[in-house]
Assembly symmetry: D4
Homo-oligomer: 254 residues x 8
């Protein structure tokens, strides 16, 4: 049956989709229904005014608000405009707790967040804020880089049974491989730009993680704490929904 | 309480761990218990004899057998040695169906495997073989590269409700971003070396996927059909276990 | 009016789109109407059988046939299967003259194809075959690399008045900049992998062309004779349609 | 007839060419006649005085004035020196409307300018200013990145019938491929340095665009809003001249 | 005897290991016993408070203190908090002489530190401070880059008999090869980011050293004065222990 | 005392140095005295005849013979010409046992050679052959990659007390960091080109090792089993000489 | 006097220039007069027939013949067609001694050609053949890599007084820096692809030479023995002409 | 006669060589005799005091003084300390005219310095200052980038007869190829970091120049105006000495 759309697909395509137009931005207010979480604002390179307009548009549509790469200047303005919001200057995130605008608290699973060193903190914080926004419960294992091998082993119980594990590491980026060898959870590896010289801004850690000999390791962009947290949070949410017996809405994507 | 191991961790460390020694290889026969799936053999650069020895060692320990990057020469030898095995020369994989050596069929979830073009077939086949080995049920959406935008939209129903989605694409590697915008599943992006010139052996696709503006996209190595299938299969297995009400074994990792 | 589709867009989306399904490929038989030219087959990495199936599907839908990166093996098979077709082993292209299957000859404009050296011939031939397929009239200026500066100047009249100019060059890739300084046509620069050492497979030429100080130079992939010819042919076709007073169909894209 | 120049070419070479010498710069005051538009000044790395001298020399020769990469300091000085000029600090451009110095308004075609996100604004503005300078009519489609796939589809009518389309995108740079699949216009892709980590200052977007599977996509340098606008404006101008029945001057290039 | 740990290894694993927990950092206070020297703090990207907490924790455990990549701000704070400490602002190191907290002076060997140019001083100073901390005796040969070939030859006697040689060089990084040809000591090459243009931040020197035709040259990271000094100091310490007839503790690693 | 050479240095410079001239090669027959081991022949890119001539020249001067990167063709010829020699086709090395030509057996120390996987065997064999040539006693720990973390721990006793440790690993190259955390020996890391995709021929492993967070890790070139073995053998020889109470010859270098 | 050509320049531009047209190639038969040497044919990627046609065209115009990158197949054909020619299969060059076709022997200067190792021979041979073709007298210094530092010093007299020095080296490419420090001649450095691993096909040597701390070192492409020889031969020819009191023809360039 | 030094070489080696020791720097005061010009100071990364000390040491030995990469702070201090010196803040050079300290004015040849654009001025100035220091007579051809092709042709007479030509260009770096095609002089190409995006800090220009199809082009480092000027000045000096009938001192190098 070449070239024809099945009726079901037809209906999906003609359904009105949610776009919130702020003049210069097209806010994807339908994303929560389609993708499980609302749209997140990448604040870098936007004016504070533009970010604020997007926030208002999201709130109008009953969607909660989360932004990353928020500069100090943007953060100050957003705190003033949305007093109930939470600005984390180390993570450079801004979020408004879901309760404020009536959204039900999300169902979240269990995620363990592992860091190689204390210099990786800003990226780890971005991941942690994102995980909290997704509704996940977060267990921390900090400063367990591979050159002190007994440090990770002392915390193996915090890895057990996690729906997903996020590992944040710079320099040679070896920690995800080691973590991956201990667990039956997917490991989302976040390379950081911590290092110097032939780290090449995190390239060494990125390549190390991509070439990980542990089969359960996938990778996101350098310093992408947000994306690491998002994917782990999504995996955990889906597992939690499965455990709850509810499952995800059966809706096919639009 | 600096420097002390909790008793629980102590016990885990002293438990005899499973290592199958073949002389030149240390087969990790404990991995199934620890990581959810048995060890997989990376056959590239090994002699056919060495691969065969590892297979025998695995079977001795009651573990099933899966190998990737199997050359034609290795494949011929393995087919002769293990007649019940399945050799896929396009995927370059060899596996022995679990039933042969008594292992229970694995609980697997639902994974959709999407390919951008027919030239990506070998990598997609490696992913598909891996997914089948993990026990997942696989739905295929083939040849839906982004420059023919209605092709993907005609198959959106096959994306809906998947536990995980694997997207295999070369050239600019844009397909995972587009797929990611339609679904609430994690998307595991597998860049391929299909292309020429400034594709630089898949680097363009890899970078494109790492920089995906879709938040639910993680990435594995270039041409890593195996790893893409493995991680998606692991996510799907964990979701299926959650749905079954059994959950994963509560064991903490060793 | 957030989130609503205008009626016109609605109608476009529900129109049946043309997909020719060959089992493993989704042939985009609607592309001629949408994009001005039919789909072109990238034969590299496909089996000869798969290419042949795609050709039959295209011909069924009344679309003519053009393939690039055709290997000798594929070429032999296609010549046998489609005797009216034209196989150019230097260009590695295969096309069936439009007349054979009743398509009207395309309206084409005027394109000048310039090459830096005789070693660039295979890429230039791919561009020339593509241009002929688009219906363009092609003027050639060959072997006029920048180190023999009077060679290009002796052929300036062939550059004048072209709707588009394709410049194929390897090594330092300087020729498009020099050509660009003489004309009021867009220049499509095609870097080639001709060279050695720090040419890095055409990277030097690519970077040179991207950094061209001539404002009218755009760039395609290394060795992408096809794409260079395609874009130039498309610009020329649109100009020819404009000159003819007919213009392109007013249809908005689907 | 080796080694001889045809008479026509001879005459072209001996015609006095227009060079305006400012001491340290050779202003190409003949470029309008030869290339369709006057020379544009790349202000970066020049002193404000040098830019001003070039402007005066251009105006002396009856050529209008356009400069890019104008710093705040240079902008302030130029605004003071040329009060009728238009300084766009986001685009970092300065132009004097053609009318001021008697030049006829240029014949321009129709160009659609598409952006992936609001962070791409500075590059898009440089493209827009350049397009206006070329005389083109510009339609905008903003913030339609590929991860919100319905956003572009809601604006397909603005793509239809354009003489050329400029697509400005950072991160994975996938938008030109998607746009290219909908239209029969040439697409000029402008990668931006928007992103972080493995974006490598726009390299990811650049490579993605160069490897685009859409055949009608050509590429310019990273953040080269000017060049994207220039080439699109040139294609549109030539098409508009063709539609007007006048055509370009028949002059062969010099 | 697959899968069993020998008793000796068992005992090692169950021994309480030294971890000093500061809240966000896990100080490896067992490292001196295990690795020959205490843990060194990489101060970059840490808050001054965090560094200070780690120092206190180390001193509590009777370990001496050494930190690298200490910023001016961190340095000021540490000098105030630990008046007996030595802050070297050129090397960006901070160390507390071992005597202060009762540790026996370390047994150190003989190391020669060679620099190519005076611009390499900061990296060389980091290496020298590290060597002094390891207890090594350091001989200096400064500013003997290869283009003044008699300069090195005038100081060959300072190379003779060293337990290890550290060579610090930027630009083309050729000096280690030349030094290596004169001696029977291991040469630890430290590439620096001194240079410009195609030095690419020290990449040229790094690659040069990795490709050294002298067989006794190994390499550390760009600007890694610390690591160069550490490894040389460790080799020298082991040699000095061997000469002393005492040798290293026979303990197997944990 | 600017510009003067001390008498001692003067004498060293005027001493006749040992150069064995074969016509096209200058054999450095003095290297044993100067550098601790005789010159080693890099056979790649040389004709078999040239290698044979160099061997004869070395033997004439009483120096023993060792060559690396010996091709099958070269190997066959050398075996025929030097029947007492030992050709290892996996390591691609050829050496003549020192006893044959009367040289005293070298004093060697204790080196542990660790490999991540069985695919790294050729590089490990080159290292092992080199170590044997240096006189070192070699302990092997094979196939202990980081994703099976208990495999290395089962062999920690073979790491203890080594004069130097060579770690051979491809893919992400994480093993040296983990080994380094257990020992007080210098670790010479040898990255291999084992891997695929973003391994980029061993670049990932190389960068990972250069950025190792373990302070005692230095690095040699990709696949440089020879250099890894050489440096480790040199460190071990010097330690063994120190233990023997003899020490190295006091001679300053020439 | 903006925009006018001086009369002298006018005359030069209108002079008939020498182009020999072979159909697909434009032979620059005027180059000898303009550039000091005739055009050289880059045979790579050309058919043997095309090379032969170019040779005939050159000989017709009284120009002698030199080709590089001549494959074995091309070489065989050329030897048959031009029996007086000299084919060097190691250098992959073909030249016809000038005497054959009546050209006067060129005035050449004195060039020293230095190689780092015997594996660099093919590149060095290409340089030597080129130098002989330019008329230069060539002194050889072979196999004097920097790790055997006394080898170069033993041949310093062959460096003295050269009009130019060509240094051919792979691996770390350090030799030009060392040579440069001894002489008052320009040093043309030719990096070779000899090496492995992080040599990256000669990139390491190239970067090393570009960053040379010796001020008199310039660089050509990797493996560009031809260009190294050409430039050195040109410098030497000009010096020889100066010494002869004749000087170069006073002609300004065309 | 293996291993012996000829008497002549012996004498050269034992001659006292000129090293001026400033404590942390070894000033090569013998370089003028050996290399034709005195040592030049690379001021970057040195303290102003260190530069001043080196200057005093050079003047003590009767050598004149030239420094590059002089910062504003260093420049201010040097101007105060050496009032007769000439500080060029655009070139960032400092030199003391030779006459001041009695050195005879150098014999210099004729060099033409060509620039592509006015943004390349700082690098061109560094080259010009260096050329003047070498004693060369400098002719300038400015702002003749390849996209305005008649601009260079209007100044061909300034290229004729030069002993060497320095071409300074950024962006695509095509100008040296075009210049090279007109002349029988060696062309020293200096890539600059002028550009943006895929210029990658001058890499594009560098690669373009290395791959130049003009045989007489050699290359120096990015932004290396000094080295470009130095080598051209050296070639010109040697030619001028040849023309003068004096020639260079016959001394062999030391």
């Amino acid at each position: 049956m070449d070239g024809e759309l099945p009726a079901e697909a037809f209906l999906r395509q003609v359904a009105p989709v949610g776009i919130g137009d702020t003049g210069d931005a097209q806010v994807d207010v339908d994303r929560d229904r389609r993708c499980g979480f609302p749209e997140v604002v990448f604040a870098q390179g936007k004016t504070a005014e533009a970010v604020e307009r997007i926030f208002h548009k999201s709130l109008e549509h009953g969607t909660d608000v989360f932004a990353t790469r928020v500069s100090d200047e943007q953060g100050g303005r957003l705190v003033a405009a949305f007093p109930a919001g939470h600005y984390n200057p180390i993570a450079r995130t801004f979020r408004v707790p879901p309760r404020e605008h009536g959204a039900p608290r999300r169902v979240g699973g269990q995620v363990t967040l592992v860091t190689a060193g204390t210099s990786d903190l800003p990226v780890a914080e971005e991941a942690r804020e994102t995980l909290l926004w997704t509704g996940a419960e977060v267990r921390m294992v900090q400063d367990v880089g591979v050159a002190g091998p007994h440090r990770l082993r002392a915390h193996l119980d915090r890895l057990a049974g996690a729906d997903a594990i996020v590992v944040v590491a710079g320099m040679e980026g070896a920690l995800p491989s080691v973590v991956g060898g201990y667990v039956d959870s997917p490991v989302v590896a976040v390379p950081t730009s911590v290092g110097y010289g032939a780290s090449f801004g995190g390239l060494a850690a990125l390549l190390g993680m991509l070439n990980s000999c542990a089969s359960n390791v996938t990778v996101v962009n350098i310093d992408a704490g947000f994306k690491g947290g998002y994917v782990a949070g999504l995996i955990a949410r889906n597992a939690a929904l499965a455990r709850s017996g509810v499952g995800r809405e059966g809706h096919p994507p639009t």
